[in-house]
């Protein structure tokens, strides 16, 4: 499985190498590439700043101000991730046809990904050592200065890690920028793949995208280079919360709710109205039903295969620190950082070369999903297995169980909720995936996401409403799991 991410990348490089120096140069050093690059930078930096502002703002208010129903906020603030950016973009375009540009793209992606920052920051606030802020106050710092110089730096690494997820999402997002006519690198790569006679050109441009993604990962690593990750576990003390008057509390609560209203409540409301008023979808109800069935089956099969494939690696890497296991981890992490179009391109190149007959078949589509998503499974399964004490299966062995029996009946049994959560993430991600599906699906096979995509591109907005709602429902379970995991 280690090769799962690496092999497509290698094929991508081989295919690009075949273009030769001049061929690659012709793609990389032209105005179009520079434009794509600049647009991508504008979108990613916009998303980074917006998600940080939204995430830090909401997390700070929720953790420092006494609001009613403290636990509900964790779930409410996770809800936006249930709305894929392209569903939000679709709603925007359907309400105001002709909306295009970088700013709407930034808004849509930021609103549907800022919970990564919020939840990571909330969890960090909970772990932060609040007596450090006490000390700062007793050393003469005002509450504001103590917050900015002592508390905020403690949660900033977590916020930046969450922000990295938003940025990587923005980099790999295809459907939302495409709907809003924003030419990012991912849109450009897909365009070259679908429209160019030589698909190697898409690969060459794809390498620029890979470089950009890696730069962002490196940047995030660099910012937390000197921070102390161990100190987080030291002192857990109840956060002293500000008690404000009813008007101020209500005002701040409303402020926190605003992004959720914009990206969840408002779109769902609009979709429901369309559903009630529209009749066009009734004409292709059977199309919709078959797309839903296809999506469900693809998601289930992908989740099962990815989870089973991830288990051995997760089991090994959770217990042993070995050089090659770390290499496997690094490669999986790379897989999570790389935009899915890149992996899809690699898989296409590989399949055309090795098993041409599989190209544009369902098994190939599922294989691609698995390759892209297996790092997610490995991550959740490893975390779940690591939380089971090594002593537990050891005790089982002293009570007469064999090593493998002890592993299955004790370790795997206790890690099951975490492994299952990973499977839910994978399933939902596969069900919502757009560019890979468009690139590799057999002709005539539609998923909910491609339904929404094709209906939107021909301006059949009402017809797409049921698919859009279904996609939001698909995202609910992972959003809930995300908030639960962050709450710990």
């Amino acid at each position: 499985m280690a090769g799962a991410t690496a092999i497509p990348l290698i094929y991508l490089c081989i295919r690009v190498a075949e273009l030769g120096f001049d061929g690659v140069g012709a793609i990389l050093f032209r105005q179009r590439t520079a434009d794509l690059f600049l647009t991508t930078m504008a979108v990613t930096f916009g998303v980074a700043i917006t998600t940080l502002a939204l995430g830090l703002g909401t997390a700070t208010i929720v953790s420092r101000v006494k609001l009613p129903t403290p636990n509900l906020w964790w779930i409410v603030l996770a809800l936006p991730v249930a709305v894929p950016s392209y569903v939000a973009a679709y709603v925007l375009v359907s309400v105001r046809p002709g909306t295009t540009g970088i700013l709407p793209t930034i808004a849509v992606i930021s609103l549907s990904t800022f919970p990564y920052v919020t939840l990571a920051t909330l969890a960090a606030f909970r772990r932060a050592d609040h007596s450090a802020a006490d000390v700062a106050r007793s050393l003469g710092a005002s509450e504001l200065r103590a917050f900015f110089t002592v508390t905020l730096p403690q949660v900033l690494p977590a916020a930046l890690a969450g922000c990295l997820l938003s940025v990587l999402y923005a980099l790999s997002d295809y459907a939302a920028p495409a709907m809003l006519r924003t030419q990012t690198l991912t849109v450009g790569v897909y365009g070259l793949f679908a429209g160019s006679l030589n698909r190697g050109h898409a690969g060459a441009l794809g390498l620029v995208l890979v470089a950009v993604a890696l730069v962002f990962v490196a940047l995030e690593q660099w910012t937390r280079r000197r921070s102390d990750r161990r100190s987080a576990a030291v002192v857990v003390r109840e956060v002293p919360q500000l008690v404000l008057g009813p008007w101020k509390t209500a005002g701040l609560g409303a402020l926190v709710l605003t992004p959720v209203l914009l990206v969840v409540v408002l779109p769902v409301g609009i979709l429901l109205i369309r559903l009630a008023g529209g009749t066009r979808y009734a004409q292709n109800l059977s199309d919709l039903a078959s797309a839903a069935a296809t999506t469900l089956v693809l998601g289930l099969v992908t989740a099962v295969i990815a989870t089973l494939a991830a288990l051995p690696i997760a089991a090994l890497s959770a217990r042993f620190r070995h050089r090659w296991i770390r290499l496997v981890e690094a490669v999986s992490f790379l897989g999570q950082a790389l935009p899915s179009v890149i992996i899809a391109l690699g898989v296409v190149f590989m399949s055309l070369r090795v098993f041409p007959s599989l190209y544009q078949t369902l098994p190939m589509l599922i294989l691609t999903y698995v390759v892209v998503l297996v790092p997610k499974s490995i991550g959740s399964a490893r975390a779940a297995i690591q939380q089971v004490s090594v002593r537990l299966p050891e005790v089982a062995q002293t009570l007469g169980r064999s090593a493998s029996n002890a592993w299955w009946t004790v370790t795997a049994r206790h890690a099951l909720p975490g492994i299952a959560a990973g499977a839910v993430f994978v399933m939902s991600a596969a069900m919502k995936e757009v560019p890979m599906t468009l690139m590799i699906r057999p002709i005539g096979v539609d998923t909910l996401a491609t339904e929404l995509w094709t209906k939107t591109s021909i301006d059949a907005y009402s017809a797409a409403a049921p698919a859009a709602l279904a996609l939001i429902v698909v995202g609910l379970a992972p959003a809930w799991l995300l908030s639960r995991a962050a709450r710990g």
Partner: protein
Amino acid sequence: MRLRLTNLNAGFGTQPVVSDISFDVAPGELVTILGASGSGKTTLLRAIAGLHPARSGHVLLGDQDVTNWPAQKRRVGLVPQEGALFPHRTVASNIGYGVPRARRVERVAHMLDLIGLSDRAAAMPHELSGGQRQRVALARALAPAPPVLLLDEPFSSLDAELRGALRVDIARILAETKTAAVLVTHDVAEALTMSDRIAVLEESHILALGTPTELYERPPTRSVAEKLGPASFLPGQPVDEHQVQTALGVINTFEPLATSEQVLAMVRPEQVRLTSAPQADSYEGTTGGLAHKVLRTEFRGDTQLVFVEPAAGVSLRVHAHPSEKWVPGDDVHVQVLQPVHIVAPSLVG
């Protein structure tokens, strides 16, 4: 500067956490608040620092009533549990946090020298050992030369050896800087060794306040006596003003008896000696020639604990030299070496 608390009350919601706390701390003096976890120690410290609001009562620094001052204006030094160093700042930057820019470099260098960590100025907190972290936390609190220093169980995360060394260091530094200090701890040995005075805190009230010797030898109540170390309590009938009849015989009391009612005599394990034959007492008073049975023994290395039952339901705990070979069932005679302290008769039983 002198710290003075008068009738201080603080709590959460309707729940009082500390009630009616009054004591003084003189410059250079270290007062320990001794209490179990949950007794309100940390809240009391936070109230002194201005981090927790006082419900009523006053906090005075010198002649200044600072009860309504926010923490940043009081500038009381605070060393929390585990040190709570700012994890993203270097040692030097931690120490310099509360010092005005103009004096920072010089002051940080001085503090680093004082704690003996001049070579670690650029280290990050996670690169330090536990003892080093605590010393940096102390230096950071003392760098702005605060009038009062508050220490919240500063040694609880350290191993015994390091703890001893750091106690000595802190006592020296506090004496050198003439800082009034309040230490909270649940560790009796720490309280007895470090403090000039100890305040025993229980259920939000101060039960007793005094020097370590006063509280150890002459605690006002049985409960305070037990908090400061193991002790046995023998019911006794006053014979005259200085003698009381107990299960060990007639023994002398430390303070004159003003009552003829039954009283409770406190016997610390090191105040008695076991012998196999009756001995002449080393002070005036007699324990008579009664023989008692050894119940059980515990070997402790440098000492040996022997439990004797002089009367039904009364267990006497004795520190014996480890070379004495006592076996359960042995007949022993108990020699009381000093006049005993009578705890308040109102708390008998």
